[in-house]
């Protein structure tokens, strides 16, 4: 007997929702300034950490009559999954954010179209891991141990200079690391240890590190903000696995201006792991020309110089000049560890499994 009322209410509700849905884009979309001719619409899928200056993207849009919209696809693994699952009917034209540990997976799934561009001439060969030029390098960063300078100064303790040092009793319980099964820096640090001790020796290293009371958490956020004493989270451990650029971020994002970074990275040979991030044109894009322009734009000096302070990574383009904060406080490792992407792809699961059994069980 009241069904009519219910239905009319429901109809009203549905209409309302539809309106709300339709109203959203108009309410918040950044107003594009349309140049002559309809701009080509380009979609770029990235991982969540992607960032860029608004002015730079606007310039690119105007110069090329291309309208760029971004989709953030979760962390590196989630974003790659999206690309692989939507292969054939791609979600986007360009995908940025596959790193050297996931590179083989992306290439095996054959999601990229090759792009040969003269821009590659400005990028050292060591970064160009895909000889077929489907995935082009954009930036790199080092996963390193960060330490709390004040702690080591106060305790008059020497900073560890190698992985072996970490096993010494004076560093007992001072290091926080991330679980390689759930965290990308955690995985990178595990791989640095494999590069150092080999596939036969790394479990032994981790067993000893466990005996030396290493703290393990699942994600970088917890490790850095809850465990690390050098961050604002005021944690118990004065060493944490983070990035070589984190000390620069501590200065740039200080709430009271600092003339010295409160933290620093251990960059001794072999203790950092180098991650390279790649961009590629997704197979099946109807906008290949615009996509190529955007990829070249990402490799250009302009974009490469904007990147460091937006994402706290290093440019691969050798012509790009580093910002002052980077030159002063960020540390790139001179001899970082690195593993062959194909080897990583073949063994990632087994390594993580072995690590889990050694450190957690």
């Amino acid at each position: 007997m009241n069904r009519k009322t219910v239905f009319s209410l429901l109809l009203f509700f549905l209409l309302l929702t539809a309106c709300a849905g339709a109203a959203t884009p108009q309410a918040t979309a950044p107003a594009p300034t349309p140049p002559a001719g309809a701009p080509v619409k380009l979609t770029v899928l990235t991982h969540d950490s992607f960032a860029v200056s608004e002015s730079l993207i606007n310039e690119f849009q105007q110069a090329n009559n291309i309208q760029v919209s971004f989709i953030k696809g979760g962390d590196a693994g989630a974003a790659l999954n999206r690309v692989v699952l939507s292969k054939g009917s791609p979600l986007a034209d360009v995908f940025y954010g596959v790193d050297s540990t996931f590179l083989s997976r992306a290439l095996e799934a054959d999601v990229f179209e090759p792009l040969d561009t003269p821009m590659l001439g400005e990028i050292p060969a060591e970064f160009q891991l895909d000889p077929q030029k489907r995935a082009l390098p954009v930036d790199y960063g080092d996963v390193c141990i960060n330490y709390d300078k004040a702690y080591f100064a106060e305790k008059n303790l020497a900073v560890p200079a190698s992985f072996d040092d970490l096993l010494k009793p004076e560093y007992r319980g001072l290091l926080a690391v991330e679980n390689p099964a759930t965290s990308s820096p955690g995985l990178a640090f595990l791989m640095a240890s494999i590069a150092q001790y080999g596939e036969d020796g790394y479990r032994d290293f981790w067993q000893k590190l466990r005996d030396n009371d290493v703290a393990v958490v699942n994600d970088w956020e917890t490790a850095y903000y809850t465990n690390f004493s050098g961050s604002s989270g005021r944690g118990p451990q004065p060493m944490v696995v983070s990035y070589g650029s984190s000390p620069a971020a501590e200065v740039v994002f200080a709430s009271t201006p600092l003339d010295e970074a409160p933290t620093a990275s251990i960059v001794a040979p072999g203790t950092c792991y180098r991650q390279i991030e790649f961009v590629g044109i997704l197979k099946g894009t109807p906008n290949r020309e615009a996509a190529a322009k955007f990829v070249e734009f990402m490799l250009s000096r302009q974009f490469q110089e904007d990147m460091p302070l937006q994402m706290f990574v290093y440019p691969v383009n050798q012509a790009a000049v580093l910002p002052e904060a980077f030159q002063k406080w960020a540390q790139a490792a001179q001899q970082p560890a690195q593993l062959d992407p194909a080897l990583v792809s073949a063994n990632r699961q087994a390594w993580i499994q072995a690590w889990t059994e050694t450190v957690l069980r």
Binding site: T5, A51, Y151, Y225, S231, S232, G233
Partner: protein
């Protein structure tokens, strides 16, 4: 006893009438189509992909399932029992006493529900961590060398966080039913000589049983599929099915194993829901609508005052103190803490709030706080409308007697057991081209939220609808009220309170949800939780401070909205 109750409920509530096939079809049509399009289709799609892909060894799968299933059930059971233990006395407090600040306190108890886990982990650390307030205080007071409380990365932390998150479910669901309970029943029992304990055991609790069971089921399922709490507070030694699904799907890129684990999780959800309906969550006793506040009293005797004071204090310690610690941190100059060793000026500051409004790096993805709040509210509002629309239809259908309900009722609960990761990947496969396109259809977010909210809405509305005494409606009709008027003036007041509770549930579920949002959100329309994560993903005091400030803002927005919703119900 059972026979008596059956006699009472038979035909006594109008909604217990048998529903004709046509009626049932009409009522079920929309909710079913909704579930079919937005739940079963994407789920089927991802399962098809997962099971077509090459499997990586059957033996490993069985071991992986066995390992996490046991722990998942165990921690969910413990968490649920503890949550009931904390929630039932609190529900009693809100249902039976009126005291100054009651409304505000009830809103505060809801806030944990919306807080992102990362922020809650930070709050727990601020309170109970190795250098948290509690440990520092105890170490100073008793001259201890090591922190006495070692909670983080233990089962205790998981249980505590689950109680912190879900007590509000018990307070809202059981508390509302309790407040609507005719106080004369209890008074009659007392007059007839029953002790307060006996009255509680033999009158009050049996009458509240449907809502207690509903709350227990929902809390159990929430804990059963827990993800963030396990990952961030439990640490790497604990993994639930949901955590394993996440690791396998997104980190190991092992979709077949992720598929098996999700299927197991769904099957368990189905079994649990079936067991619940067997347990008799459907027995209904007609309730005459009570005047608002009729059953509540002020605390007069010393004993009553003590009860109110103790319960309020308990709620403060358990639910409010972590939130307060967060809010406090968001206005504390954080460099000072690390600078205790150096000379950095400490004290209070509003810098982090001010900084929220500045796009210092000129970033394309800068989130203005007002825009994030607006997006969050828009998504949450749409979720309320959508889930209440669907929920009312389903609840009306469920309140009628029909065989089809026995099949469809458990289906409604399934979205609670579906892993967010699995469903998210399914959405990407299915909603890949216009008109339903992940890229250009922001409504997918409230739709995904509604899937999670729907079980809450139905479980809240259905008992209220089912309990309306048929003679009240008949009386209204005899006295000349049109069906519409009878609905408005008899049914709505009874259902109104339940509807407000349902609205608050779907609102808070949407506001706090992160998994589906991060999967489906366009960067142009970030929500408050997404903004919090963006800040926390980079080092630096400003980022940390702004994340906490944004979290405080999220609490504020949510509290204001709930107050409005609660006012609307009166």
């Amino acid at each position: 006893m059972d026979g008596d109750r059956a006699a009472v409920s038979d035909e006594a509530t109008w909604t217990q009438r048998r529903g004709s096939a046509r009626q049932m079809l009409l009522l079920w049509a929309l909710p079913l189509v909704f579930l079919l399009v937005f739940f079963f289709t994407p789920l089927a799609a991802i399962f098809r992909v997962a099971f077509q892909a090459e499997s990586t060894g059957e033996a490993g799968i069985a071991a992986a399932v066995g390992r996490s299933l046991g722990f998942t059930v165990w921690q969910a059971l413990l968490s649920m029992l503890l949550t009931m233990l904390a929630g039932l006395p609190a529900a009693y407090l809100f249902a039976r006493y009126s005291f100054p600040g009651k409304r505000v306190l009830r809103v505060l108890t809801t806030l944990p529900f919306i807080m992102p886990t990362v922020v809650v982990a930070a709050a727990f650390n601020a309170l109970l961590g190795p250098r948290g307030l509690a440990n520092v205080f105890l170490m100073d007071a008793f001259h201890l060398q090591t922190p006495p409380i070692r909670l983080l990365n233990t089962l205790g932390a998981i249980l505590l966080a689950h109680v912190f998150y879900n007590t509000t479910v018990v307070i809202r669901m059981v508390g509302t039913a309790w407040a609507q309970l005719d106080p004369r029943l209890g008074q009659a029992a007392r007059v007839l000589g029953a002790s307060p304990a006996r009255t509680l055991r033999e009158v009050t609790l049996p009458l509240l049983l449907p809502s207690i069971l509903s709350a227990a089921l929902l809390v159990f399922l929430f804990d059963f599929t827990s993800f963030g709490v396990i990952l961030l507070l439990g640490g790497p030694r604990y993994a639930t099915l949901e955590v394993d699904i996440y690791i396998q799907a997104l980190q190991m890129l092992n979709l077949p194993l992720a598929g098996v684990l999700s299927a197991v999780q769904l099957a368990c959800t189905l079994l649990i829901t079936l067991a619940y309906s067997r347990l008799g969550g459907r027995e209904v006793v007609p309730l005459a609508p009570r005047l608002h506040g009729e059953g509540t009293t002020r605390a007069v005797t010393a004993r009553q005052k003590l009860v109110v004071a103790l319960l309020t204090a308990g709620i403060f310690v358990l639910l409010v103190s972590p939130l307060a610690a967060l809010a406090l941190r968001s206005v504390t100059r954080l460099d000072a803490e690390r600078g205790q060793r150096g000379a950095v000026n400490g004290g209070l500051t509003l810098d982090y709030y001010r900084e929220l409004f500045v796009n210092r790096r000129g970033s394309l993805f800068y989130v203005p706080p007002a825009a994030a709040a607006r997006n969050s509210l828009l998504y949450a509002g749409s979720t309320v409308v959508l889930s209440l629309g669907m929920g009312f239809l389903a609840a009306y259908a469920l309140a009628r007697r029909s065989k089809i309900n026995r099949v469809l009722d458990p289906l409604l609960m399934l979205p609670l057991g579906a892993s967010a990761v699995t469903l998210g990947l399914g959405y990407i496969i299915v909603f890949n081209r216009p008109p339903l396109d992940v890229r250009s259809f922001p409504a997918l977010i409230p739709i995904a939220h509604s899937l999670v909210a729907l079980p809450f809405v139905v479980r809240t509305l259905q008992p209220a609808l089912a309990s309306i005494p048929v003679n009240l409606i008949n009386a209204a009709a005899v006295l000349g009220a049109s069906p519409l008027r009878a609905w408005r003036e008899v049914e709505l007041p009874i259902v109104g309170r339940a509807a407000a509770v349902a609205a608050i549930f779907s609102f808070t579920i949407s506001l706090g949800e992160f998994g589906a949002t991060s999967f489906l959100a366009r960067p142009e329309y970030p929500t408050l939780p997404i903004a919090i994560f963006r800040f926390l993903s980079q080092p630096g005091a400003l980022n940390y401070g702004q994340a906490l400030a944004m979290a405080a803002l999220l609490m504020l927005v949510c509290a204001a909205a709930i107050l409005v919703l609660e006012k609307a119900q009166d």
